[in-house]
């Protein structure tokens, strides 16, 4: 059964997740804070209200799937899996170290509750499409949610999957684009502007809405909207801020893949308290 949290509970959980994201990246002195912090509100909204999953039976075959295609934002996933009881604090505090359940990029072979082995951008929606074919073959009403980054939309394979999903009318497939405007090297607009993603995805036959990806009310409404699909795959473009919640990380390309030092860590903890 879904967790059915209310807005207050979701916002409190998102704050705890932000704290743990910073803790694990600081401890590891490596990882990707920016994209974890931009994505976490959508992820909390989805796990807290919608996903039909069971921490006691992570491999339950009829569970909803969440495919994290931007696998470098793994701290966001580890923080929510901890909140829901899939993993322990010691697991995420050993993030990126030898033998840890919490690998650098999310990996279904290492972590309970992870549905996809990510790390190479552009592949998650295709994997999700395969999961949605399987759900249809099983006559199951389980849904498949996929999250990609906006920089990731530069990968050609993503558009292969967007085209195929519409052709096969996979209305159990839901895409979330974490549109934080920054990729590894710089702002997306300076690396290769991806343009009007809403129009582009719509032109492939999808239903698309655009929301503020940090507003829990909008997130909650968007998830309900995405569930009311009528034969079409559904996409939510979540406009977000990279590094959201930590002043010096917000909209700062240098915190795509850099850990905070001790001083920065203390500032972050103060801001989140």
């Amino acid at each position: 059964m879904p967790f059915n949290m209310d807005i207050n509970e979701l916002e409190e959980m998102a704050l705890r997740c932000r704290i743990n994201i910073i803790k694990m990246i600081h401890k590891a002195q490596s990882g990707h804070p920016g994209g974890s912090l931009s994505a976490i509100d959508m992820i909390v909204g989805l796990y807290g209200t919608e996903l039909n999953i069971n921490p006691l039976e992570p491999d339950w075959e009829d569970r909803d799937r969440f495919i994290m295609s931007k696998g470098h934002a793994s701290p966001a996933i580890y923080s929510i899996l901890y909140e829901l009881g899939f993993i322990q604090e010691a697991d995420f505090m050993s993030f990126r170290s030898l033998g840890s359940k919490c690998q650098g990029h999310v990996d279904m072979k290492w972590t309970e509750g992870v549905d996809f082995s990510a790390g190479s951008l552009g592949m998650g929606l295709s994997f999700g499409l395969g999961c949605s074919f399987a759900a249809k073959l099983d006559n199951s009403n389980r849904n498949i949610w996929v999250m990609v980054g906006d920089g990731e939309t530069q990968e050609g394979q993503l558009w292969e999957a967007i085209m195929a999903a519409n052709y096969h009318s996979t209305d159990n497939l839901k895409l979330i684009v974490d549109r934080n405007g920054i990729q590894n090297d710089d702002f997306v607009s300076r690396q290769m502007e991806v343009g009007d993603l809403r129009l582009k995805i719509q032109s492939f036959g999808w239903e698309v809405i655009e929301i503020d990806g940090h507003n829990m009310y909008e997130i909650s409404d968007a998830i309900k909207w995405a569930n009311k699909s009528n034969g079409k795959p559904m996409a939510i473009i979540a406009n977000t801020i990279k590094g959201k919640g930590i002043s010096y990380m917000e909209n700062n390309p240098s915190f795509h893949g850099k850990a905070p030092n001790d001083k920065e860590y203390n500032i972050a903890m103060e801001e989140l308290s």
Partner: protein, 315 residues
């Protein structure tokens, strides 16, 4: 033994196997436009609800297969061998790394593909997939062995790559003899004492022809069909290399990284007997009939005979 004269193309065996596998409701077929060529089209006709057309988009197809496999299905995904290579990183990261049971078939492998020319002649597929942990790699000799091995592939506990061939070749098996094949075990087709010829794919029937020619000259050859390139049957190599004292490998593939390389790697760690490799020697192919190409690229039956004699002299 004499090479049976009836011909068969291994892609036809793959197509027949898919129909036989359909009794398992978890079997699904993925196509990237080339079903008529890879022969998955017969499955599509009979089981359209379990066939997914993904268009000319191989990278997407490979991950769709991974998603299906993660949900308990057994996807059989086919396209030309050369176009599977386009999705190598998808196969590496999306299939082999999480060890998902996606079974890839690359048809039109090798120079034997012929007149389409070098762009369609995959001569490196076996080498690149051999580097991936968890992958089983199969290259059958004819249609009967392809049918049997494809049936077995669907029961593997990890991913696989099967390379099939476009054109007919003399059969090395019958319906009955192919039933004795087993993934991971080399198939002994002829026993002899002077040279062990180990080959795969279209070179198996040529190796039998070469052994017959050598026999007339008083040279006795062992012929092994090494249809499974990975995992390599090291026991059969050890036994026959000791007995014969030298090895000739024959493959329609680059001699860099394929069957010959796999056996040389093993040989260098063990018996270290003289070896000769027949195959594509660090060049691309071109348009032409299969046999014309094999002649100019030193991969004909006569070239296997020459390699055997040279190898015996080096003992």
């Amino acid at each position: 033994m004499s090479a049976p004269s009836d011909g068969g193309a291994s892609r036809d065996g793959y197509g027949r196997a898919l129909i036989r596998l359909a009794v398992n409701p978890d079997i699904v077929v993925l196509e990237a436009d080339l079903g008529k060529s890879t022969k998955s089209c017969h499955f599509r006709t009979e089981f359209p609800d379990r066939t997914f057309s993904l268009g000319i988009a191989e990278q997407n197809m490979m991950l769709v297969g991974a998603g299906l496999a993660s949900s308990g299905k057994i996807p059989m995904a086919s396209t030309f061998a050369i176009f599977t290579e386009r999705a190598f990183e998808q196969i590496r990261n999306g299939i082999a790394r999480p060890n998902l049971k996606v079974h890839i078939c690359g048809s039109h492998g090798g120079i034997h593909t012929g007149s389409d020319g070098s762009s369609a002649q995959s001569i490196e597929d076996l080498a690149i997939y051999r580097t991936l942990p968890n992958m089983t790699i199969i290259h059958p000799a004819d249609d009967f062995s392809a049918e049997e091995l494809t049936i077995q592939v669907a029961s593997l506990n990890g991913p696989s790559y099967t390379r099939t061939i476009r054109n007919k070749v003399p059969r090395s098996y019958t319906i009955n003899t192919s039933k004795h094949l087993e993934i991971g075990k080399g198939s002994l087709l002829k026993e002899g004492n002077d040279v062990a010829i180990i080959s795969c794919g279209v070179m198996v029937s040529k190796s039998i022809e070469a052994a017959n020619i050598l026999e007339k000259e008083g040279i006795s050859s062992t012929v092994i069909d090494m249809h499974t390139i990975k995992p390599l049957d090291e026991n059969i190599i050890d036994f026959w290399s000791k007995k014969c004292g030298c090895i000739v490998t024959a493959e329609d593939h680059s001699i860099i990284g394929g069957l010959g390389s796999a056996i040389a790697e093993h040989n260098s760690r063990t018996n270290l007997v003289p070896m000769e490799m027949v195959g594509v020697k660090d060049r691309f192919g071109e348009s032409g009939e299969s046999e014309e190409l094999f002649k100019i690229m030193s991969m004909s039956t006569g070239d296997i005979v020459k390699a055997a004699k040279k190898c015996i002299e080096r003992k």
